[in-house]
Symmetry: C2
Subunit: 255 residues, 2 copies
């Protein structure tokens, strides 16, 4: 299963609680797209440009078909890829993401998000904990546990993403909000069994974007989690890993 | 697990594919409310009135706490019950239903529904197949299989519901659409782990009502199925039975 990462995320941003659980049953491929982490090149400013790099990567590895876990930005790249080359994916898991023509995608200028991004008392992953998890005691406890898990590994880390990465990826989000022709029409062509996952309180990419996906993709099952934000898969890592594995193993659709 | 039935439904409307699967692991209680099937009395014209009858039934059996599967009308009764007596349910499964203050609940006058209800060439369960399942080949094939499963048992059947049952239950739907105070505010008091299930193409109680439930109930997980209508639990009986059993067995929330 190919794993496509979120805005500014590198290999180091995958939660080991989720990846180790999934990797116990299948091979995972974690991928830094062009210009991210230790991948050379320039970050494209469109989702289509990012998809082209992933195709080059898969082709170089000789992988014709795989499963995909696309989180946030990565879920958009996964959608673009399956529309460009429908045979590329067997099954898809799309977490905290949005279709082309989606709404309120990563508007970091919103006060709810900006206040943490501009708070100079928050360091490192503390910002991520505020952005990815609800502000309830349960949400913030899950956020702290997530940060602790991410911090376990200290060797061989990726180069953190800077402003250039962020600017290009942000431009890609703005372009992805645009659509021509029938809104969500292209989703109806995606015949892959798909598991769509979101937290109901996602402030970065609101849950209604997941409703748009599941209402328009012919074989999409939607799963939402309570008291959870953008990082719902990390907050409920046990439940998510179990649901994802069941979905991937199932011969039927839905699972 | 107490099972609370849909509009005009009797014990005979529970799909054996779902009930047998669930009953293999736990005791199920199927219940005809007052005035329905072979239960004596008069059908209340409010959800609260129906909830009172279920309490009398549970109290008579000496059941203080149980799980509940509430489908459509039955899901509204379950919500009213847990608000009236919070200890009554351990875990809740709410399928194809709506919160108080929900929208477009069972408006059978809508052309999409009325055309089947008024079609005199359709007999018996043929109407149910059109109302509960999508009109795609897959949906109608699932509907035909459902009708065949319901028709297997021919002995010891309940009295079918007539116009009096329908009129009182319809009045209860209209009352349930009304709300005072903070909309969905009472949902925030329901602390039971809850699994909310719906088909994305439910014309009888649109899926956005399930979004209202899962966005406002503190411990609700939402599961939606593609190419499915009001009878999503019967269409995907294997997937639903598996998900329901996993949810009921889980010690964590969400599961």
């Amino acid at each position: 299963m190919l794993c496509l990462q979120h805005f500014t995320g590198t290999l180091d941003n995958w939660d080991p609680a989720v990846m180790d659980a999934l990797a116990s049953q299948r091979e995972l491929i974690l991928f830094d797209n062009a210009g991210v982490g230790r991948s050379s090149g320039t970050v494209p400013n469109t989702i289509a440009g990012m998809a082209a790099h992933v195709f080059a990567f898969l082709d170089a590895l000789g992988i014709a078909t795989c499963d995909v876990l696309g989180f946030s930005l990565g879920g958009m790249v996964a959608q673009q890829m399956v529309l460009d080359r429908s045979s590329v994916f067997r099954r898809m898991i799309l977490v905290g993401t949005a279709p082309r023509g989606g709404e309120e995608i990563m508007h970091l200028e919103k006060p709810r998000l900006a206040r943490f991004l501009q708070d100079r008392t928050l360091h490192g992953y503390e910002v991520l904990s505020r952005l990815f998890f609800t502000l309830t005691p349960t949400g913030q406890a899950a956020g702290a546990a997530f940060v602790q898990r991410l911090s376990q590994r200290t060797d061989d880390l990726d180069r953190p993403s800077g402003q250039e990465v962020a600017a290009a990826q942000m431009a890609a989000f703005r372009e992805w909000e645009q659509f021509t022709g029938e809104r969500f029409g292209e989703l109806k062509r995606i015949m892959q069994p798909t598991l769509v996952v979101n937290g109901v309180s996602d402030e970065m990419i609101p849950v209604r974007n997941s409703y748009m996906l599941s209402e328009n993709m012919p074989k999409a099952v939607l799963l939402t989690y309570p008291d959870a934000g953008h990082g719902s898969l990390f907050q409920y890592h046990e439940a998510f890993s179990h649901q994802a594995a069941t979905f991937l193993e199932s011969e039927s659709a839905p699972y």
